[in-house]
């Protein structure tokens, strides 16, 4: 019993949750971990560390089309989203007390939704979550109407670049065009997008952009909020003022150099990567649907992340499928939020108009830079028996048949 279970080949199809680090990022980070020096110290060791941090900032800026001074390092996606939502809201409202509205979408990640709900409950924000269509695309007309109703009262707009569950890309250019006409800043959570689709901060016209290391081959616990220099952001975390006085905390040079290496690599290899994984993804969807003809593909069929496949298996509980696939060494996600590990039907799928039942019957398979044809083959081999079993369990639980 104390022996580890026999090692079996694992088929990892959950890169949207986290993806393996690039060996180059591990090497860069490991090297820096062995060096001493606080980037804020004035002596030679401090200067050496500072140089690593600033070079990393420049490399990230180069890869993302922003200025180095626009990169604010944080602890990751959740902190960046909180900083953008609260920091921009507070700064904009303190400039003009009428600015109390925040416009966002019903399909944002909880790292955006929860700060917005918090601002609504605790701080008088009026949060409007705009609807999406059945393929998860923002209803741009609804955004236009919401802005036009009273442009002067909008503190910010926050729309994710790509949805983390179903992979749909949002019409960021159109969002920016609508908001810019009224000088309203736009934040975008691009955690799932960087390294997957082309992301150019300056060209996008967005004002603040969230990214995180562990989704693009970098380390956990580090990310950035790219935010325009001229934009005022109220700090959430106070202390030494290390990052533009917006974000305090000793600068994590090893994590930052790991992040910069991963951003450079993922963005540099992006075109080739996207072509390769989207072909794998298309093969995955096609062959899974050959085995399970009732399976339905979710999200926008064209304007989507290259590595994301999201499927509903009618009559099967996603939980059951996940467990059965896991037992066969295939790892994926139900894409649902968990509290105490209790699966709730996904707010994204519900917002897309899915029934509670279909929302609970869905799985996300996300590929990444280490994915191979063998991974797809393993899933295709495992999915048939798993769906058969899960359908039996679904029938017991009173879900509709296939």
């Amino acid at each position: 019993m104390t022996d580890a279970a026999p090692a079996r080949r694992r088929t990892y199809l959950d890169h949207a949750a986290t993806t393996p680090m690039f060996p180059e990022a591990v090497a860069a980070m490991s090297e820096q971990l062995l060096r001493v020096g606080n980037a804020s110290s004035l002596h030679a060791s401090g200067r050496d560390t500072r140089r690593v941090v600033e070079e990393s900032r420049e490399r990230i800026a180069g890869a993302l089309g922003c200025r180095p001074g626009e990169v604010v390092f944080t602890s990751g996606g959740t902190e960046s989203d909180n900083l953008a939502a609260k920091g921009l809201f507070w700064a904009r409202r303190s400039d003009d007390a009428r600015r109390t509205r925040i416009l966002s979408t019903a399909v944002e990640h909880h790292a955006v939704l929860d700060p917005l709900h918090w601002l609504a409950e605790r701080d008088g924000a009026a949060v409007e979550l705009l609807p999406v269509d059945a393929e998860c695309r923002l209803d741009i007309e609804a955004l236009k109407q919401a802005i036009d109703r009273d442009p002067g009262s909008v503190a910010l707009v926050s729309v994710m670049w790509a949805n983390n569950e179903v992979g749909t890309l949002q019409p960021i250019a159109e969002v920016v065009e609508l908001a810019r006409a009224h000088g309203i800043p736009v934040h975008t959570d691009a955690v799932q997008a960087v390294g997957q689709v082309e992301v150019d901060f300056a060209a996008s016209g967005t004002d603040a952009l969230t990214l995180t290391g562990h989704k693009l081959g970098g380390p956990f616990g580090v990310g950035a909020l790219v935010v325009r220099r001229e934009l005022d952001v109220t700090a959430l975390q106070h202390g030494g003022g290390q990052e533009r006085d917006i974000r305090s905390g000793t600068i994590d040079a090893p994590a930052i150099v790991g992040l910069a290496t991963a951003v450079e690599l993922s963005v540099g290899r992006r075109a080739e990567y996207a072509a390769r994984v989207s072909a794998l993804r298309d093969d995955l969807v096609r062959r899974v649907r050959e085995v399970v003809p009732s399976a339905v593909s979710n999200g926008d069929p064209v304007r989507r992340l290259p590595a994301n496949a999201h499927l509903t298996f009618p009559g099967c509980e996603g939980d059951s499928l996940l467990m059965l696939l896991d037992a066969r060494g295939v790892e994926c996600s139900t894409g649902s939020a968990c509290s105490a590990g209790v699966p709730q039907p996904s707010h994204v799928l519900l917002a897309m108009g899915c029934s509670d039942e279909d929302a609970r019957s869905s799985l996300r398979f996300s590929l990444g830079h280490t994915s191979t044809q063998a991974d797809v083959d393993a899933l295709v081999e495992a999915i048939g028996p798993a769906v058969e079993r899960a359908a039996e369990a679904g029938a017991v639980a009173g879900l509709g048949g296939r």
Partner: protein
């Protein structure tokens, strides 16, 4: 065998899972999420429904080396156990929710799903013993450790359910189980036992019922009367009373003979609560409904023992099944003549029938005749 181990986050279910895994079975651990809002259920180390308990179960599964998942049974639990508990109290009966949970959740919803998913059995940390009898049927017996015996709350299980159940702790003493948990490096070794009803967070059943029954206008305020119908006082809800209860009656006047008074009967619709002397609680005959037989249905008057409440004493009895046409007929009745008198038996409680240590079956008490004919 592929075994699903239900892990509450407590020491018993953790050791049970460890034993099944050690025996060489392919074990998967699951924790049942029973509340949609985990904070609303019992907090701290006593419960089975909190985030902390879920984490404890997960850590035990890590140590044992088995996969672990959380299954959301909250809707089923609410409908089949919590609502049933409220309905029973509103009807003036005294239900046992643990028994209902075993009947409807652990060995029904969970077992059925497990079997459909390809598992062969469900293992729990209950203290009861399973053996195969001479007739090839699975028999359930009391646990070796009588202080921990839980066969009473398992008395609702059918042969089919017992055929897919594993109770690895049935032959062990609780103290040994704790020592074993420690030896196995399970962090829950010293976690206190749970006692109260898991969905009542602070243990205040009266207050919990009051809040919910008042919302449904089922509180049924009424009078407290003696056996002659004389009104002795008023109360704000009959759910606060259970047959045999002595405390909390809040009757100003003492009884003429100065002796304590007990709740004898509850009439839920009028809200009338009848009280009287202890002698009037004596019960010699019970009628019970909805019997469940673990194996063969008794076809003649059965001289046996019965247990009338969890951790209650055994009474010698003669049990007769009114009709044996079908084991599932809802109109089937069981008559129980008690050779050893019992006191304070409340409708809604389960009578579990034993032949020696073997569980024969169970039924829900519908009425109890006091020896005095009241």
């Amino acid at each position: 065998m592929k075994v699903l181990a239900a892990m509450s986050g407590g020491v018993d279910s953790a050791v049970a899972a460890a034993r099944v895994a050690e025996a060489g079975h392919d074990v998967t651990g699951i924790h049942l999420a029973l509340s949609r809002n985990p904070q609303s259920y019992r907090s701290g180390a006593r419960g089975c429904c909190t985030i902390e308990d879920s984490n404890d179960a997960r850590r035990a599964a890590d140590v044992i080396g088995i996969p672990f998942y959380v299954w959301d049974l909250s809707e089923r639990f609410h409908a089949d156990v919590v609502e049933d508990f409220l309905d029973e109290y509103a009807a003036g009966r005294t239900p046992n929710p643990c028994l209902r949970c075993n009947e409807k959740i652990k060995f029904a919803a969970v077992l059925d799903r497990a079997l459909a998913l390809g598992f062969d059995a469900v293992a729990t940390g209950h203290y009861a013993q399973l053996r195969t009898g001479a007739d090839g049927l699975v028999e359930m017996h009391r646990a070796e450790d009588m202080g921990k015996d839980q066969s009473y709350v398992l008395g609702v299980l059918t042969q089919r359910q017992l055929g897919h159940a594993l109770f690895p702790l049935g032959d062990s003493a609780k103290s040994d189980v704790r020592r074993e948990a420690e030896r196995r490096g399970l962090a829950v070794a010293a976690k206190p036992d749970s006692h109260d009803i898991c969905f009542i967070s602070d243990g205040d059943t009266g207050g919990w019922l009051a809040d919910r029954l008042a919302d449904r206008e089922l509180a049924h305020a009424g009078s407290i009367v003696d056996r002659d119908g004389e009104v002795l006082g008023e109360h704000d809800g009959s759910y606060r009373f259970t047959v045999g209860q002595r405390r909390g009656l809040r009757i100003g006047r003492p009884a003429p003979d100065g002796k304590p008074r007990y709740v004898l009967d509850i009439e839920p619709v009028s809200g009338t609560v009848t009280v009287g002397p202890r002698e009037a609680l004596a019960v010699e005959h019970l009628t019970a409904i909805r019997p469940v037989w673990c194996g063969t249905v008794p076809d003649r008057a059965l001289e046996c023992t019965v247990q009338l409440r969890a951790h209650g004493e055994e009474h010698r009895a003669v049990v007769t099944v009114a009709s044996t046409a079908s084991t599932t007929a809802t109109d089937e009745k069981v008559e129980v003549r008690l050779l050893d008198r019992a006191t304070g038996i409340a409708p809604g409680q389960a009578v579990v029938v034993y032949d020696g240590t073997r569980v024969v079956g169970s039924a829900t008490i519908a009425s109890a005749d006091t020896g005095t004919g009241a």
